[in-house]
């Protein structure tokens, strides 16, 4: 039995474990790394089963080309030539900006870097994005404005020092289990816990205060808390004076948000809002933890601004046990952002629109670079549906299941002249492609991943990929070669040299330094020890900027025709579109079928019983799923996890986008249900 240390492929927590393999090159299990600072000998259920999908018979093993309407095996040479020819042909015919590149938060930093280089330097477009658009684009936009950096400000070890954790819009024990467990341990040792979530999540059972505010009323709640803090004089005046700007505008903006007014919007009692404000503001060290409940709204950026305002108002920044802690979802979604798989920035958030920056990359890559920022992935789908996009390369993403309004996504992809997908399974998106390239999975290639606490860590190759499948970076190098760009990288470590040379926050990252616990960026030079906490003396942008926000209701609220609110999310046992977890025996067995959570009161109203099939319809489509009667959801709301292709929640969801971050409103739309 061989044991190879690597990083978990699922969530952004960044646990490390040993993959166990036998002499025939098959994985046989997982053992948590005992001394790693994040995993500490522990894993969640997904981590314990991370070996299970790798050997699945349905892994893609050869490139596939669509011929006579069917995907048929081909060889790499033919496949890569076709891919390059098609992309070049479309770029020549329709202009480079008629192409779109979707990168992935599941592939390594090196691979994200190469794809963004390929899109920009190889095919001449800034049209590159990835699934952070659907999860934390609101965070990146909001926190860059208020603090100057869009990342989690503190470290996971801070949960050991905090006095209060305020969890808003994060089902932490299910979605970041090993962060959820740290919160539970903090509670055990006496820290306070405030939970704001319309669902009765596990954390709420341990909360000093559980605020079940209406989905989409977060701005009102947060503004209301701040109104009360000012009313009580509990703001941190020294911090405000020394480290922030624009405070008077904030004060002014909060005037209307009295507890009574906020209670009407949120559905809470005024006393709950007052109590939350006081508990939060009287703690010396408070951490705010948030995730998709905050970001996935048509006012997601405003939600993030409100969170930032609350932290600045109370001075909960730049110290251990405090901070604004957006929990990043995928194991490398932080890294994919850091590497510039985004339409407006190169690696390290260096702006495409800045001529000096462009010049720097242009010189390094010896090629002229496009000037205008590219399209966001959500806008790209709209553009494709409108016939403005012609070719798309998707690396390890499955927008058919993961994006809002599936009918629109299918229509958009169907209209493309050419769609190529690189993936490990024939996902629902790959099934629509003209060309499918088989990739190595995390256990079959080297690379680095950056966790939610900005920890850059190694992923290590343990076994060979199945059949002819290749590491994504090798596929990308073959395309760089066809574009006439540098392509002599022999290993991801060499790609990291190039990244470090062009990316200030990764300047000191080198494989030789990543053998131990990894390094937390910013790590600007080879001697720098990394940065567990951001904004220590001052914020990345200088002063912390108060960014006042007003409450805007969600775009589509329940009405007479569609009387229930649909909330979407995930379960503890599946990962996103399920392509890996639904092929892992224990995880699949635990949640095999699509379900919909219905409150007992609504079950009576609609005369529905446990496990009964329901037809759920929104203005965009219908799906069928089995009822789960539970008071986890409040009356008037139903919840559906989006993992299940056969009953995809995103058939129903609304592709109304936040005007700044382009994130869809996954957490609110109007539906009706019919027993069947």
């Amino acid at each position: 039995m061989n044991a190879t240390l690597t990083t978990c492929p699922y969530c952004g927590t960044g646990c490390n474990f040993y993959l166990l393999s036998d002499d025939r090159g098959r994985l046989s299990g997982v053992e948590p790394a005992a001394k790693h600072p994040v995993s500490r000998g522990q894993l969640c259920i997904k981590g314990w089963n991370a070996h299970a999908f790798v050997d699945h018979p349905k892994r893609l093993k050869t490139p596939l080309i669509r011929k006579n309407g069917k995907l048929q095996p081909t060889d790499w040479q033919t496949a890569l030539d076709l891919l390059h020819d098609k992309l070049s042909e479309i770029a020549a015919k329709e202009g480079p900006d008629s192409l779109m590149f979707l990168s992935s938060a599941k592939v390594s930093n090196e691979e994200n870097y190469l794809l963004m280089k390929l899109a920009r330097a190889g095919y001449g477009t800034n049209n590159i994005d990835h699934c952070a658009r659907l999860c934390h684009s609101s965070t990146v936009t909001g926190l860059v404005e208020t603090l100057g950096s869009g990342a989690m400000t503190n470290s996971l070890s801070c949960f050991e020092e905090t006095e209060l954790v305020f969890v808003i819009g994060s089902n932490t024990t299910e979605q970041h289990p090993l962060i959820g467990s740290r919160i539970l341990q903090a509670v055990q040792r006496g820290a306070k816990l405030l939970v704001a979530d319309s669902r009765k999540i596990r954390l709420s059972r341990h909360a000093d205060l559980h605020l079940r505010h209406q989905n989409g009323s977060d701005v009102a709640l947060l503004n209301g808390m701040m109104w009360q803090i000012l009313q009580d004089g509990l703001e941190n005046r020294a911090f405000i004076a020394q480290r922030t700007e624009n405070f008077s505008a904030l004060q002014h903006s909060l005037k209307a948000f009295t507890p009574d007014y906020v209670a009407r919007i949120t559905g809470l009692q005024p006393g709950q809002i007052i109590a939350a404000a006081r508990q939060f503001a009287t703690s010396d060290r408070a951490m705010i933890v948030y995730a998709m409940g905050i970001t996935q709204h048509s006012h997601g950026v405003d939600n993030v601004r409100a969170i930032s305002n609350l932290a600045l108002l109370t001075g909960n920044l730049g110290r251990p046990g405090t901070g604004i802690n957006p929990l990043r979802g995928q194991n490398n979604v932080q890294g994919a952002c850091d590497m510039g798989a985004l339409p407006d920035v190169y690696s390290g958030y260096q702006k495409v629109s800045d001529p000096q920056i462009r010049e720097k990359f242009s010189t390094a890559w010896s090629v002229k670079l496009p000037e205008t920022p590219g399209r966001m992935s959500t806008h790209a789908i709209e553009a494709a549906a409108g016939g403005e996009l012609h070719g798309m390369l998707v690396l390890g993403e499955n927008p058919v299941i993961s994006d809002a309004n599936q009918a629109l996504v299918r229509q958009a992809l169907g209209k493309l002249e050419f769609l190529a997908v690189i993936d490990i399974f024939l996902t629902e998106t790959a099934q629509l492609a003209d060309l499918v390239l088989p990739a190595a999975c995390y256990a079959e290639r080297d690379g680095t991943f950056t966790s939610t606490e900005r920890r850059v860590q190694r992923g290590r190759k343990v076994i060979e990929p199945p059949g002819d499948a290749r590491a994504d970076w090798q596929i990308l190098v073959a395309l760089l070669h066809r574009c006439g760009l540098k392509n002599d990288y022999t290993a991801p470590a060499e790609i990291m040299h190039e990244i470090a040379s062009l990316t200030p926050s990764y300047g000191g990252i080198d494989y030789s330094r990543l053998e131990g616990d990894g390094l937390q960026w910013p790590c600007p030079d080879p001697a720098h020890p990394g940065s567990p906490i951001l904004h220590l003396e001052e914020c990345a942008r200088g002063k912390g900027h108060f960014s006042p926000v007003d409450y805007r209701p969600p775009g589509e609220l329940p009405d007479a025709e569609y009387p229930l609110l649909l909330n979407t999310g995930r379960t503890a046992f599946h990962w996103h579109t399920g392509s890996m977890t639904r092929r892992s025996h224990l995880l699949d067995r635990e949640e095999r079928h699509a379900f919909v959570e219905v409150n007992p009161e609504d079950a009576i109203t609609y005369q529905i019983s446990e496990r009964q099939q329901l037809k759920i319809s929104s203005r965009r489509g219908s799906i069928y799923a089995a009822t789960r009667v539970t008071d986890r959801v409040p009356s008037g709301q139903i919840f559906i996890p989006f993992h299940f292709a056969e009953a995809a929640a995103n058939v129903l969801t609304n592709n109304l986008l936040d005007p700044e971050s382009g994130i869809p409103e996954f957490k609110v739309c109007a539906v009706r249900i019919e027993p069947c």
Binding site: E31, L43, P177, G180, H585, L586
Partner: protein, 331 residues
């Protein structure tokens, strides 16, 4: 038989064993995890330290284990045992007790051939005495191994507990009996953990732990399944079939009674349908049901579930809380 080995003798013994066995020895892996790994003669041994991370019984009953291959004609092929049997070195008293527990379960009729394919002929080598972290004392074994090496100052007392073990030790020098007496003396003061388990067990058998307690503990469970997966006496598995065209591979994989689907029936009904019931079962099974069935606890006090439980509700933690709430002196 009592022998005494210095470091050179130990290396010689291991080399000899590795000629005939697939020898696994304690090593420190990349991040400092202490775990059994294949003996190469070169990698440094970790001769003192914390409990081995992967439970050693995983060599006999691994997380994924191929049971058989079935072809389209219905012919069944069973994996062949490896050429050389396994030898596991570095097992502490609890590791050995865990293997003894599993042996009894899997050897009971009808014997489990997949387990026995790995287990039969395997050599177990205990490492006890001053071999804990910072050379602290580890309990002596119950003699349930082939060889027991009792660490004393800069050498090891070697006991042969089986004929295979004695044969391997025969050419080494005689051991110092007074040192062994001293070690046995130390061994007498190490019953604290089993006292705690004894009290907790009594509370369960007398049915003095209310449902509310289990609800509160279960609220803290994040359903990672780790407590079961690391437990050396847990023997539950489920069966996975993978169809690769011509061949269907049937394997078994570790299961966990903390999962809802563990007992869920096809209708969807689940007799263990709440986290509280499942948490109660996890503890009750080991401290009450096993006592009734086997006459001993199903917990060997290895400490692994307490280390791997992300929220601090492993066996010892729960037993402690139970005794604190309902133990002697409580109403």
């Amino acid at each position: 038989m009592l022998k005494q080995l210095n470091r050179a003798d130990l290396d010689l013994l291991l080399t000899q064993i590795s000629d005939e066995y697939r020898l696994q020895v304690p090593q420190l892996l990349a991040d400092g995890t202490r775990q059994l790994a294949g003996y190469t003669g070169e990698a440094e041994l970790s001769l003192t330290g914390e409990v081995l991370q992967r439970k050693p019984s995983a060599f006999f009953f691994p997380q994924t284990q191929r049971l058989l291959d079935i072809d389209t004609a219905g012919a069944v092929a069973v994996p062949q045992p490896a050429e050389k049997p396994l030898a596991l070195f570095g097992l502490n008293q609890a590791d050995l007790a865990g293997i003894r527990f599993l042996d009894r379960f899997f050897r009971a009729a009808p014997a489990d051939d997949a387990y026995l394919r790995q287990r039969n002929g395997a050599l177990l080598i205990g490492l006890t005495g001053m071999a804990g972290p910072d050379n602290c004392f580890l309990s002596l074994s119950a003699g349930d191994c082939d060889i027991e090496l009792v660490a004393v100052k800069e050498s090891w007392l070697a006991l042969g507990h089986s004929s295979d073990g004695e044969k391997l030790l025969q050419n080494f020098p005689e051991g110092d009996k007074t040192q062994l007496v001293r070690m046995r003396h130390l061994n007498e003061g190490t019953a604290a953990e089993s006292d705690l388990l004894q009290q907790a067990s009594q509370l369960l058998i007398e049915d003095r732990v209310p449902d509310q307690f289990w609800m509160e503990i279960a609220d803290r469970c994040i359903l990672c399944s780790g407590c079961n997966l690391v437990c050396p006496t847990c023997s539950c598995f489920c069966v996975q079939d993978r169809n690769r065209g011509e061949i269907t591979e049937r394997s078994r994989v570790w299961d966990s009674c903390q999962l809802d689907a563990f007992m869920r029936e096809a209708s969807g009904h689940n007799p263990l349908g709440t986290d509280a019931l499942r948490t109660r079962r996890r503890i009750h099974h080991k401290l009450a049901a096993d006592v009734e069935r086997w006459g001993e606890f199903g917990c060997v006090a290895c400490g692994r579930c307490d280390r791997t439980c992300p929220t601090g509700i492993g066996m010892m933690a729960v037993a402690e809380e139970m005794v604190k709430c309902f133990g002697p002196g409580k109403p």
